[in-house]
């Protein structure tokens, strides 16, 4: 466990006040109180740099990409493809050709489940997922299993909210075709031992898809060091706009895979009977892409890089430790998930005697935004033996004293409910 005793409520590895000045929405007043935004695992707020990049594109450069020979189209293409290169550098991809823009993480995962899965998974094969997955890294595999007659296997979650690697070992076999798991749980905050999971999968010849939707925004990733075959993440959780996500894949695998969606932009030659496919990454980007959104994501990546992912992670860790400490001290709180040193900035909890929805409504009355419900992870919520939880999740712009506002509002809710 990290020691929380030394955390002061003012000092931080980040200049949070300066960062906050970049996020116009954080100035909002909600129900008469200054907004305390603690639902970052669902989506993040956007800095002016991202908003401006999108605005600038529409005001100055809007044209379709990869088509026109005129100036505007060249500018739009350059900006969109420039964003792809920024993302490639951010995750340390060998080449921009390995970076496929999708609509979100969900579409990236479906792309692999359909295109790779359709060609490589058959009856009697096995797919391993975990009990901690967001529905978006679970349902596509369930559908693949149903289509192909493959079997789904599950890595269970231990009582301390971690993946049970002993059971994982027993699930792996030469029949395992792919292991799909999250780098960080959106409910428990658990940072999973990804390298270990990947190595063991590769040892039996299985492929690996890492759902990095929570990992990339809060810790960053080096895809070459990580060693997965596919990595999916989503722009809107990392200061970017909605409508843009990323699939990174090993180039050789992407080359071999059949396309996912068919249409314009993804083809080279089209004849009545057959077509040939465009080069990577465009082979997987059918139709007019999310141009402004891609450019916005490029600006988000620039912003995160300038702040520094190590600092962001350290800051969130400090806030999370402090939040765990204060919630423990409050009493009547059930906390879910691993110790502070194994988790990112997510705290799922319940208050005895108050349904999480009532709690979230009451916190909202004090301007505090937290999530309540099943967090798109019903198998995990079932495993916890509850019907729902409340969840607070932090990001680079959260102040440590916002934890105090949040916990004080919880305390007030407990008074109202008499618990």
């Amino acid at each position: 466990m990290t020691s929380t005793a030394t955390i002061s409520t003012t000092s931080s590895v980040l200049d949070v006040e300066r960062i906050r000045a970049d996020f116009p929405l954080l100035q909002r007043v909600v129900n008469g109180y200054p907004l305390v935004y603690l639902d970052n695992a669902a989506t993040s707020q956007k800095p002016t740099a991202v908003i401006r990049a999108i605005d600038d594109y529409y005001q100055m450069h809007n044209a379709n990409v990869h088509r026109g020979v005129y100036t505007l189209s060249e500018e739009a293409t350059e900006a969109y493809e420039g964003a792809r290169r920024k993302v490639a550098r951010f995750i340390n991809a060998r080449s921009y050709r390995e970076v496929i823009f999708t609509r979100n993480a969900t579409e990236a995962i479906n792309l692999v489940a359909y295109a790779w899965g359709g060609a490589n998974v058959g009856k009697g094969d096995e797919i391993i997922v975990t009990d901690m997955e967001h529905h978006s890294n679970f349902v596509p595999w369930q559908l693949l299993a149903q289509r192909t007659g493959a079997t789904l296997r599950f890595i269970p979650v231990t009582p301390t909210g971690q993946l049970d690697l002993a059971v994982y070992n027993t699930l792996l076999s030469p029949r395992t075709r792919i292991v799909a798991f999250t780098g960080m749980s959106n409910v428990l905050g658990t940072i999973t031992p990804a390298s270990e999971i990947i190595e063991r999968a590769h040892a039996v010849g299985a492929r690996v898809l890492l759902d990095a939707s929570q990992l990339v925004p809060h810790k960053g990733i080096d895809v070459q060091v990580m060693g997965a075959d596919f990595v999916a993440f989503t722009g809107h959780k990392m200061l970017g706009p909605t409508g843009i996500g990323v699939l990174w894949g090993q180039r050789a695998l992407l080359e071999e895979m059949p396309p996912f969606l068919g249409g314009g932009d993804m083809i080279k030659e089209v004849y009545h009977a057959t077509s040939t496919w465009n080069e990577l990454p465009w082979k997987f980007e059918a139709g007019t892409p999310s141009i402004a959104e891609g450019i916005g994501l490029g600006a988000a990546v620039d912003y995160l890089t300038a702040v520094g992912m190590d600092k962001i992670h350290a800051h969130e860790r400090a806030i999370t430790s402090y939040a765990l400490e204060r919630l423990n001290a409050l009493g009547g709180i059930t906390l879910y998930g691993p110790p502070a040193d194994r988790r990112g900035g997510v705290v799922a909890f319940n208050v005895e005697g108050i349904h999480p929805h009532d709690l979230a409504s009451m916190l909202d009355q004090r301007g505090v935004a937290v999530r309540a419900g099943q967090h798109c992870a019903q198998p995990l919520i079932d495993h916890l033996g509850v019907t729902a939880t409340a969840r607070a999740s932090f990001y680079l712009y959260n102040r440590i004293d916002e934890v105090d506002t949040f916990v004080d509002a919880l305390d007030a809710a407990k008074q109202v409910f008499g618990v």
Binding site: H357, I381, F417
Partner: protein
């Protein structure tokens, strides 16, 4: 702290009326589930002649859904099945007597959904979404 959590709401949610299971004979039994929040509600009714003579409910949910079901159960006893069919969203909101934000409306209406689907004997009862 919150206009929604008035004393009568807390009273009904913390000491729900007609909570439990009904002894046989049970004429109508109906379960409803709200996948968004995981709330689950089972309502049981005994109908003698054409009058609802007893109601019990169980399950779990937020204060709003529990209070709504508790109040609704009290209002149903002694009514004919036809009268229960006439109960509307407005009637239920009047009983609750608190401002319900759009996102919490589903919580409040879970009980009415269960009751209506039960008395109409249909797989799913939907309040007109446009209302």
């Amino acid at each position: 702290m919150d206009a929604m959590y008035r004393e009568h709401i807390l009273d009904h949610s913390q000491n729900p009326r007609n909570y439990g299971t009904l002894d046989e004979p049970v004429t109508i039994r109906r379960e409803e589930y709200n996948p968004l929040c995981g709330d689950r509600l089972t309502v049981e009714m005994r109908v003698e002649g054409d009058t609802v003579t007893a109601v019990r409910f169980h399950g779990h949910g937020c204060a709003i859904s529990q209070a709504a079901m508790s109040m609704l159960s009290e209002a149903m006893v002694g009514k004919t099945v036809d009268e229960v069919k006439q109960l509307s969203k407005e009637d239920l909101l009047d009983m609750l007597g608190i401002p319900i934000s759009p996102v919490r409306l589903k919580c409040a209406l879970l009980s009415l959904k269960a009751v209506k689907a039960g008395v109409y004997g249909v797989p799913e009862w939907a309040e007109d979404e446009d209302e």
